[in-house]
């Protein structure tokens, strides 16, 4: 917990330094806008989606047990510019600190961190799982064969959905703002299928 508050102070320091600076606001406000309509059409995911008014969060929509007990705070902006994406990240970091403090305060850590390999529980099945990662929802799909071993495993990277958005966001922007737009989406270069 002490480590958490130390980290929180650092994040606050960096976040407020960035977001309170007028020169930063001048550069990021109105730049690289991804309109809510486009975000919806492209089925955007993750923080970039939530900066364009798209209310989607796998932690809430497909919650694992910890999120059923304490749902994550909703962070939603709709201007869809570079500033919105930066602010969503900062606000979500704050929300995560709150969430972690709440969860850890009542937690009594028990049980092993590592688990023994479990015997096959099913044969000839397809299982799909959705988890909210730092870039958005990550979808894992596995197919098990006749003896319960994994026959095929597929991961759908959140950036697979979000890459096309960049080409919409950079329209009518000056070329020097391209890196700003690009990085604001925090897209992966080498996830599955990319």
């Amino acid at each position: 917990m002490a480590e958490l508050s130390r980290l929180r102070a650092e994040v606050e320091n960096v976040g407020t330094t960035l977001l309170d600076a007028p020169s930063v606001a001048a550069r990021m406000e109105g730049t690289g806008r991804l309109l809510p309509h486009t975000a919806k059409t492209l089925q955007f995911v993750g923080m970039a989606a939530r900066a364009s008014g798209r209310d989607i969060d796998a932690r809430r929509d497909f919650p694992s047990p910890a999120y059923v007990e304490s749902p994550p705070a909703k962070v939603l902006l709709d201007t869809g510019d570079v500033m919105a994406r930066a602010r969503v990240r900062f606000l979500e970091m704050r929300a995560s600190f709150d969430w972690l403090s709440g969860v850890l305060a009542g937690a009594t850590p028990t049980g092993a961190i590592a688990a023994e390999t479990i015997a096959p529980v099913a044969t000839r099945r397809l299982v799909v799982s959705v988890e909210e990662g730092w870039r958005g929802e990550i979808v894992h799909a596995a197919i098990v064969d006749a003896v319960g071993r994994i026959a095929r495993y597929k991961v759908a990277d959140p950036s697979f959905r979000n890459w096309p958005g960049l080409s919409f966001a950079v329209q009518k922007n000056v070329i020097s703002d391209f890196p700003l737009c690009n990085k604001s989406f925090n897209l992966s270069y080498s996830g599955a299928d990319l």
Partner: protein, 259 residues
């Protein structure tokens, strides 16, 4: 305005020197093989606990190119067998130099001509070849004010055409193979290849999967392997500077401050 200046003053100097010793727990660094590992059958117990087959109970070796530093072996065979220290300085070099307890022949530093050519100015293009982003984040951390890679004349560039070498992470997924080879081909000779992390050395936890090439070694000629899962930025600095034949401490020229 005054607040942002005050923040800078309050932050002060954050850059660490390379003499910084052990890192705080729960960091797992250089493993120490105990006497019990080398004699008797303790190595067998260690090997059974290892998910990535890093431990060879016959040869009594531990391959850091496969090790993911999970610590299960330490738990299974006790500190007498294997104990993880908190020292971030791991062995680096050719693939065989990463094997603890094995024969470690030859010199892993770059040949003199490469050292004189790249020793003071090395520009690297990074390619993430299907990894988990762990190594990429640590490599990216090299550029921050704490580790300050640029003070050694080393930097990451945005195009292979601007680069003297390639830094690769990940097991090299089949889908990334072509992109990796093309990037390598686009770098003018002489060029070097640095493979960082367990995946890039051996395939790591993905070794044997139908979708990967089991590391960079089977795809490109690798000059320098640095182990870790992921390697700490200090591990990377230690390896890269060592490869360039630099004394990491002298090259740092920074006052000691623990990270």
């Amino acid at each position: 305005m005054i607040e942002s200046i005050l923040k800078r003053v309050r932050t002060g100097k954050v850059t660490v020197g390379l003499t910084a010793g052990d890192l705080p727990a729960p960091f797992r660094g250089m493993p120490v093989l105990g006497e019990a590992f080398r004699v008797g059958n303790v190595a067998e117990t260690c090997a059974k606990a290892c998910a990535t087959d890093a431990i060879d109970p016959e040869k009594k070796t531990m391959d850091l190119g496969r090790c993911v530093f999970c610590g299960l072996c330490e738990e299974a065979c006790g500190g007498e067998g294997i104990r993880f220290s908190q020292d971030p300085r791991l062995p680096w070099g050719k693939r065989e130099h990463l094997v603890l307890g094995g024969p470690v022949p030859g010199d892993a530093t770059a040949p003199p001509d490469l050292r004189s050519l790249l020793g003071r100015s090395l520009h690297l293009r990074e390619v993430s070849a299907g990894g988990c982003n762990g190594c990429d984040l640590e490599a990216q951390a090299l550029g921050n004010p704490i580790f300050d890679l640029q003070r050694f004349g080393i930097d990451f560039v945005a195009s292979p055409r601007h680069a003297d070498g390639l830094l690769v992470t990940g097991p090299v997924s089949k889908n990334m193979r072509e992109a990796l080879v093309k990037t390598y081909d686009a770098i003018a000779e002489p060029r070097i290849v640095i493979a960082i992390g367990a995946c890039a050395a051996s395939g790591g936890i993905f070794r044997g999967s139908y979708a990967v090439e089991n590391g960079v070694g089977g795809v490109l000629p690798v000059d320098l392997f640095i182990p870790g899962c992921p390697p700490h930025p200090l591990t990377l600095l230690h390896g890269i500077l060592g490869f360039l034949g630099k004394n990491p401490v002298a090259a740092g020229r920074s006052s000691r401050r623990d990270p």
